[in-house]
């Protein structure tokens, strides 16, 4: 399937948490139903032209696959696209959307029997919410425990939806809120104060230890939270292959100071091989785009995985590879947007 943008009509725009975030739903026409089928946890890329300039953003789908295609976008201070959605988008508008993708997915199983722990913060709830909904309906023998961090009560995305789910599935879902900046005088008393840190994680698991022993851990939060949660789980001897995470918040991966070498790359894309010069200061993706080729890409921060390719010869250094599993890295998968050449000759195959 060629990864390309499709125009989709916005069916609903809903400001939530007092306008601090916006849920945008899309009408998917019948002929695109297959193309836009998604798994809970996946995201899509939106392309918008503002003041003549193209902007691409990657947003998680905040509904399970049975519901409407919907993204939920938190307003970012000074953020062009998030503010545009909040202030100017309305039902009936058309947006350019690339079909759902991403490897941070929960595939429910009718006879699977698992204990799912979800650790999220802020807008990191969006994929976790889709996952929780999906498994409550489609994985009837499993349970979910959600620990959700926010600054204040009024910033909790999907608070009412989560309350309703808890009421509907009292034996299969727990939701625990941690609030880091809540006033003591507020009427809402969270499970804990502070962040989703090591102490909170240990307390959560000790309070609700796994009954179904196939335990899976899903993490989605901003900035350093994922690494902190993963470390806390590792300290409890949770095996790595049970931990799944997605970084959130849109931060660029920091340049780690490793510089590349000038190289030539044989790039295979859409059945053709092209020789591309890669500058020492260029990523493989930048060089490929500069050569006039059009591979798919999206977030350009190593999070989404849209630009992945297989390195069959040569060496690269990846600044970040959040979107790849360790074993994929070992088998030669790379994120071209994060790769600089460290050998003079590369062979890079983009997926068909």
């Amino acid at each position: 399937m060629a990864r390309q943008f499709y125009p989709l009509v916005v069916s609903d725009v809903e400001p939530i948490i007092s306008g601090r975030a916006t849920s945008v739903s899309f009408a998917v026409p019948e002929y695109l139903r297959e193309t836009f089928r998604w798994l809970a946890g996946q995201h899509l890329t939106v392309r918008v032209i503002l003041n003549g300039e193209e902007h691409r953003r990657c947003y998680t789908i905040s509904n399970p696959p049975e519901e409407a295609l919907r993204i939920t976008v938190k307003r970012v201070a000074g953020g062009l696209v998030s503010n545009h959605f909040a202030d100017h988008l309305s039902a009936g508008d058309t947006l350019e959307i690339m079909p759902p993708f991403g490897g941070f997915t929960l595939m429910p199983g009718a006879t699977a029997r698992r204990t799912h722990y979800f650790f999220g913060a802020g807008s990191g709830i969006t994929p976790l919410y889709a996952m929780v909904c999906s498994l409550l309906v489609n994985e009837p023998y499993s349970v979910a425990h959600l620990v959700l961090g926010n600054a204040r009560e009024k910033e909790i995305i999907f608070r009412n939806e989560l309350d309703a789910l808890q009421a509907a599935y009292p034996d299969r879902l727990t939701v625990r809120h941690t609030l880091s900046s809540q006033s003591m005088w507020s009427g809402f008393s969270p499970w804990r104060r502070g962040r989703v840190d090591e102490a909170a994680i240990q307390a959560a698991i000790a309070q609700t230890p796994p009954v179904a022993q196939d335990a899976q851990y899903w993490i989605c939060g901003p900035g350093g939270m994922n690494a902190d949660v993963a470390r806390a789980l590792a300290n409890m001897d949770v095996p790595k292959d049970r931990i799944h995470m997605e970084s959130f918040g849109g931060e660029r991966a920091a340049d780690d100071g490793v510089t590349g070498v000038a190289a030539t790359a044989q790039v295979r894309l859409d059945g053709k091989t092209t020789e591309v010069a890669v500058g020492a200061d260029q990523t493989v993706l930048e060089a490929v785009l500069a050569a006039g080729l059009s591979p798919s890409f999206s977030c350009q921060s190593g999070v989404c995985g849209a630009c992945r390719a297989k390195l069959t010869s040569g060496d690269v250094h990846m600044r970040a590879h959040m979107a790849l599993e360790d074993k994929e890295v070992l088998s030669g998968e790379i994120l071209t947007c994060q790769s600089v050449a460290t050998s003079k000759h590369l062979k890079v195959n983009f997926p068909e």
Binding site: T111, Y141, V211, A212, Q213, V238, P239
Partner: protein, 388 residues
Amino acid sequence: MTRMYHKLPVDAYTSKDWFDREQRLIFSRSWRYAGLVEDVPEPGHYVSVQAGLNNIFIVMGRDFRLRAFHNICRHRGTQLIRAVGKTQKALTCPYHDWTYDLEGNLVSVPDEAREYPEGIDKSCLGLKPAAVDVWRGMLFVHPDPNPPSLAAFLGDVDPFLGPHKPEELVEFDEARRTYEIKANWKIVVENYIDVYHLSHLHSNTLHMYDHAKAEFGWKGPHYHFWEPPSEAYGKSLESNLPTPRVIPEPHRGAWVPMLFPGLGLGASEDSWNVFVITPLAPDLTRIENRTKLANVSSWEYSKQSWSSAGFWKSFGGPKYSGDDAAGEDDPMASGDFTTEDIYACEQQQKSLSSPYLEIGPASTGESPITKHQKAILDFMVAQEERAS
């Protein structure tokens, strides 16, 4: 000509060959009961269980998740773990002190440089994983690390097992006992699921339930059974219950399923029991009984005991008494249904080697017996096909 006992040859109840095949194809290839969740209460605690040919141990990690491993040191095969216990972080084989962490990784080989001058790849010598899961407060193990889930195995029968939540009840330690029956394990199962005998062998010991109204059936290889209280008992059920309720009103009756292979449950308004059947030899079977009761104050127990005392005083008794009884020790004069069952099983086993044995027709109430025999045949055929 092969002498038959309904669908199985009589041999299936007496021969070593059948016993070995069942051990290999049934008890070593299925989810096996391994205890109650409270047997492994905290990180570091472990138990081991013999499941057919496999000895498997369960240990809880610091993440409160259970791990199961084959209880075999990867060095010379010594069993690592004895019965139950608690460790901090490591499991050491007593033979040469090879040490594994709680993930099963081999972390230490004593005198490694001297004993293995060529080097030894510890990463290939981790403990072999098995599977463990929890269902209704019970631990189950499977020798295959990636078996079909317990939900796939027990999901269909689960709605017929009663509204009990065993994990919320407390064990009544005095009722815990292990004993042996000198009979083949299938004889014991068949006795457990024989609806016909309830009104006869146990005419004076289980008549607080109305056997004529029993509802029973099968989901896959699992048998389910429920019957309501008898009129005499049910009239004032709430005051007649000997101990406080374990399930909410208006649930009433006895749920007595037999989960494959050989895990009987016995649950009523006021108790929940496991009856674990383990074959030891063609004519020897071990039974483990454990009982759980309501987690309420002793005051509640006292109240219930007083309110029911009058009913129980004049209810029930031995099957035979006076001149009919063979003496004080006659099981038929015990007034205890378990003693009656053991006696019946052992008396039946004794006849299986007689050349004059000829099994009579199965009654309607004995239809579960022939179904269980078929479940055994089907399971073994499926396993043999899988293996070939």
